[in-house]
């Protein structure tokens, strides 16, 4: 049996009413041992920051294991749930406090699974923010290897003194590579 999935719709301008919550972007307390910032801007096709976007991440632990613990909505400060949600501010920037994921599959480079929502964006977009550094694993990754050098760079986070930087361009010359997964559904 294969049922056809419900269509998506935009989150609209009022998602702040329902989706953000206290602690949503802090997968670990900021400044705690091992914590890093994962942050960036969301830009539109004119290069302007998107003030009403929402970014979600889902990730493995540093040892590559996949969290199975509830508690993302009411964090206890100790349990790493692997899920976070951050709305962009007036400057179009989002920021998470989290841990650097390890590879969830041996030999593959580690990445954050990322979902992007915004007013004006009719369906959510999926992408990956790869952790920089492991040149061999990044070069061997089937997705990255299938992309031009320029497009590949849109999926690899940059590192700075505070952690990782990952800008998301919805459209334009620097457009991020957005993903679809085979599901059996047309389009």
């Amino acid at each position: 049996m294969s049922l056809i999935a419900a269509p998506g719709q935009t989150v609209g301008p009022f998602f702040h009413l329902g989706l953000p919550y206290d602690g949503d972007r802090d997968l670990v307390p900021p400044g705690s041992p091992g914590s890093v910032a994962l942050r960036g801007h969301v830009f539109d096709g004119a290069g302007d920051p998107v003030q009403d976007a929402l970014v979600e991440i889902w990730q493995a632990r540093p040892d590559g294991t996949i969290p199975r613990s509830p508690g993302s909505l009411r964090r206890d400060g100790w349990t790493f749930t692997g899920f976070g949600r951050a709305s962009t501010g007036r400057d179009g920037q989002y920021a998470f406090s989290t841990l650097v994921p390890g590879p969830a599959e041996p030999g593959r480079p580690a990445f954050f699974a990322v979902t992007v929502f915004a007013r004006g964006l009719l369906n959510r977009l999926f992408t990956r923010a790869y952790v920089p550094g492991d040149a061999g694993a990044l070069a061997a990754d089937p997705l990255l290897a299938a992309l031009s050098a320029e497009r590949r760079q849109t999926l690899i986070a940059a590192r700075d003194e505070r952690g990782l930087l990952f800008d998301i361009h919805l459209q334009g010359a620097h457009e991020t590579v957005f993903l679809r997964y085979p599901s059996g559904d047309p389009a």
């Binding site: 049996m1 294969s2 049922l3 056809i4 999935a5 419900a6 269509p7 998506g8 719709q9 935009t10 989150v11 609209g12 301008p13 009022f14 009413l17 329902g18 989706l19 096709g45 302007d48 979600e56 889902w58 493995a60 996949i66 969290p67 199975r68 509830p70 508690g71 909505l73 009411r74 749930t81 692997g82 994921p101 969830a104 599959e105 593959r108 699974a113 979902t115 915004a118 007013r119 004006g120 964006l121 009719l122 369906n123 959510r124 999926f126 089937p142 997705l143 992309l147 919805l170 459209q171 334009g172 457009e175 957005f178 993903l179 679809r180 997964y181 085979p182 559904d185 047309p186 389009a187």
Partner: protein
């Protein structure tokens, strides 16, 4: 009427938006390839112009992390969060409704114990949100947000009031049909869905570019709830049923505790 028009001098008329909608739909019918999701590039929804990718989505096989999903549990969600009519000093104004349905994967199997979030306007069509400038009354007894976990058979259930339609500035005299925003998680990251549920028989659906961005009318119909008298409760609330199918889970979902 004239005051509406002068306050919207830069905006285009519904007739132009409707003719664009009709042209896209007839192009879709001529092409003959079935679509089930909204177009990302849909010019009648003016805000999408700079916010849709120009490249096609790149198809990739999901990796381990994408075949799993975040877990939510009873520590995350209070059962009272599913009743949007409580938590305030008095009763909200409006038509009290029950909205319920099942969340299933493309294989028809229920999505159990997973998070469903909703947000909505009040009965007057006003959101309790600072960016909503629609001069309709706020209701001190209604915030318009709810959460619940699906049960062992995939059922969610909310108690709320029927939202009103509201105007927006896509074009002159643009009105969104009454809707509930839904945010749903599946058993895989790849099933993540944010969408809107509409009410049966709403004449605004045909005029609304957000609804019509789903160019296939059967696909659009998947977002419309049905009135269900078995969900209606005696002297209390009318009932609407809306089932949610998430994208096909080709992979076997991993139950909590199975992972290393």
């Amino acid at each position: 009427m004239s005051s509406t028009v002068t306050s919207a001098l830069d905006l285009e008329p519904q007739s132009l938006i409707s003719s664009e909608i009709a042209a896209i739909e007839s192009g879709y019918r001529r092409a003959g390839a079935r679509e089930t999701q909204p177009r990302l590039d849909y010019p009648p929804y003016r805000s999408s112009r700079l916010r849709h990718p120009g490249n096609d989505l790149f198809e990739v096989d999901p990796e381990a992390i994408e075949r799993a999903a975040p877990c939510f549990g009873h520590r995350d969600v209070d059962p009272l969060d599913a009743d949007l009519t409580i938590g305030h000093p008095g009763e909200p104004i409006g038509e009290r409704i029950t909205v319920a349905g099942r969340v299933v994967g493309g294989d028809g199997r229920p999505v159990r114990g997973q998070l469903v979030e909703i947000w909505q306007a009040n009965a007057a069509g006003r959101y309790a949100h600072q960016r909503d400038q629609h001069p309709a009354p706020l209701d001190p007894n209604f915030t318009g947000t709810g959460r619940c976990l699906t049960d062992g058979d995939g059922w969610y259930r909310f108690q709320t009031i029927k939202p009103g339609p509201y105007p927006w500035r896509n074009h002159v005299n643009a009105w969104r049909p009454a809707h509930l925003h839904f945010s749903v998680f599946g058993t895989c990251f790849t099933q993540r869905l944010v969408t809107q549920m509409y009410f049966p028989g709403d004449p605004l659906v045909a005029l609304d570019p957000i609804c019509q961005s789903i160019v296939d009318d059967r696909a659009r119909g998947r977002l419309v709830a049905v009135y269900d008298h078995s969900l209606t409760s005696h002297e209390w609330a009318t009932g609407y049923r809306w089932d949610i199918v998430l994208a096909g889970a080709r992979e076997t979902p991993v139950e909590p505790g199975d992972a290393a």
